[in-house]
């Protein structure tokens, strides 16, 4: 049977559409000329300028502090939640599931706005701490969903086997369950880390003076000039993202 060529053609167009802007950006980051449409020779000067920009380093520091702590907190909270959701089929868990699932489908701007109102109404000064609270809030749901998916593949009779062989509940948890669902926890954590690293809208609403994160820095660079430097920064972030995605895909494939 002859298959239609339309899917192939659309797929090619879609890939060109998805990658063309990114490729142009990467090429331009090595462009000596300030203007994207003229090739001013190969140059690394935008990278040099980027590395000597103190604001960029400062915002990178903020971003990493928040991403690491938000990941740690949300992995603990999200994993616990996933256990509860998986283990108990009570009415409380139906409510719990709704509470975990809803933030996934709420537009960022609404979450940013509502958190801002909360912090304003309890007179909490905006800064790194409020950003952290906000990031943990949206990361919990993603971690819980990823770990839950992993738990659904877990064979609970292994736990019974462990206890038949004389393992206490803590030992069988630590020696049987935890190692088997670890890939889920790790990929949930990676997801939380990436989302925290990338978030702009929610952060923008709850950030205060001196707490600019990297995305906020990028936004202000986009609004107020210095395009070639953003090209260089984008290229570095692209390399980072690519490595992250590739590593975690390898990790997931080896363990499943």
């Amino acid at each position: 049977m002859k298959r239609s060529r339309i899917p192939l053609i659309v797929a090619v167009i879609c890939f060109v559409f998805l990658y063309l802007p990114i490729i142009v950006l990467v090429i331009n980051s090595f462009n000596g000329s300030r203007f994207g449409s003229v090739w001013g020779g190969f140059s690394l000067k935008w990278y040099a300028r980027l590395f000597s920009d103190r604001e960029v380093w400062f915002s990178l520091r903020n971003t990493l502090i928040i991403a690491v702590s938000a990941t740690a907190l949300s992995v603990v909270l999200g994993t616990l939640a996933a256990f509860a959701l998986h283990r108990y089929k009570t009415r409380l868990q139906v409510l719990h599931y709704t509470l975990i699932y809803t933030p996934l489908v709420v537009p960022d701007i609404l979450m940013g706005m509502s958190l801002l109102l909360l912090f304003v109404s309890v007179a909490m000064p905006l800064g790194l701490f409020t950003i952290l609270l906000a990031h943990v809030t949206f990361c919990i749901s993603y971690v819980a969903m990823v770990v839950l998916a992993r738990l659904q593949d877990f064979d609970w009779s292994l736990m019974m086997a462990a206890s038949d062989l004389g393992a206490g509940p803590w030992t069988s948890f630590r020696r049987v369950l935890l190692p088997l669902i670890m890939p889920g926890i790790v990929s949930g954590g990676l997801l939380a880390f990436t989302l925290s690293l990338d978030d702009f809208v929610i952060t923008f609403f709850v950030a205060g003076p001196g707490s600019a994160t990297l995305p906020i820095q990028i936004y202000s660079m986009i609004r107020h000039g210095s395009p070639p430097m953003i090209n260089a920064l984008s290229t570095l972030l692209l390399v980072f993202t690519f490595t992250m995605v590739w590593t975690s895909q390898r990790l997931m494939r080896r363990t499943t």
């Binding site: 167009i13 998805l18 950006l25 996934l104 960022d108 509502s114 990028i218 984008s234």
Partner: protein, 285 residues
């Protein structure tokens, strides 16, 4: 007992930082603004009366139609795209899928910026179009609804591809062959066998493009001009420009209602059973 121990931490966290703030949006919308950018005492309906401002219906309408168009284009492109990936060689599939996921994991602002560079008056697309005499040199490709729409589609296309791919991959393609053997024509087999078979994926794709599109703020902010603003821009302006939190809350309340409606439709259409996975969860990192 153990159930409480494992459920309570996330339960309490999300109640304080998600449920209460959402209720606050509706409460603050009924408060007057004070001149210092805070929230005044007492209750009022003034903020909702301000929404009667003749500018707003136009903005709400624009937000709706731009989201509908973006969703329609994303679905139309994602359907053959996902179909192609699902039918390609098994060894090729993870590679193709990763190629879809990578732009999706690229920082959101950077993807918007990449388009700004391309559509810029000095940018590549503009120069190409001018050199082929397709547009006149003084036409601006940016700061209009078309540019906003283009970047909306660019941003949300991977969101649409993933759930449709997940559904197509589970679809039994022998059903199409069976339909063809029974004398069904190609297109007929496509829309009466394949489409109903992946309907859940289609609904999820529509939801995960439509809802974030409704709440767009950065894309129209960077790519658009005053004539292509969406509700999100107005919320941000009330917060960051005139610091009128009750007004911003009223707009957010309006947006919440606009967002909840398609979600209810989705839940009713999807029926009960396992919940659709969110594409971000599905994509890994």
């Amino acid at each position: 007992m153990r159930e409480w121990l494992t459920s309570l931490p996330s339960f309490i966290w999300l109640t304080i930082l998600f449920v209460i703030p959402t209720v606050l949006v509706f409460a603050v919308a009924l408060k007057p603004a004070d001149p210092f950018g805070g929230v005044g005492a007492g209750w009022t309906l003034d903020t909702f009366r301000d929404l009667g401002d003749p500018n707003y219906p136009a903005i709400v309408w624009r937000t709706l139609w731009m989201s509908v168009v973006a969703t329609a284009v994303c679905l139309a492109a994602a359907l053959p795209f996902a179909y192609y990936i699902a039918r390609s060689d098994e060894r090729l599939r993870p590679v193709l899928l990763m190629a879809v996921v990578i732009p999706f994991w690229t920082n959101f602002l950077i993807r918007i910026f990449a388009w700004k560079v391309l559509l810029h008056p000095e940018g590549l697309v503009k120069r190409l179009l001018v050199s082929f005499h397709l547009v006149s040199p003084d036409v601006s490709l940016m700061y209009n609804e078309g540019a906003v729409l283009m970047v909306l589609i660019y941003t949300y296309l991977p969101f649409a591809v993933l759930p449709i791919y997940a559904a197509s991959e589970k679809f039994d393609f022998r059903l199409i062959e069976a339909a063809r053997d029974l004398g069904c024509r190609k297109w007929r087999a496509f829309y009466s066998v394949f489409l109903p078979g992946i309907s859940r994926g289609l609904w999820t794709a529509a939801l995960v493009v439509f809802v974030p599109a409704l709440g767009s703020y950065v894309i129209p902010d960077i790519m658009g001009g005053p004539a292509s603003e969406m509700i999100g821009n107005k919320i941000a302006q009330r917060v960051f420009v005139d610091r009128n939190l009750p007004h911003a809350s009223a707009l957010s309340a309006l947006l919440t209602i606009v967002v909840v409606l398609p979600m209810i439709v989705y839940l009713l259409r999807r029926g009960t059973g396992e919940s659709g996975k969110h594409p971000v969860v599905e994509a890994g990192p």
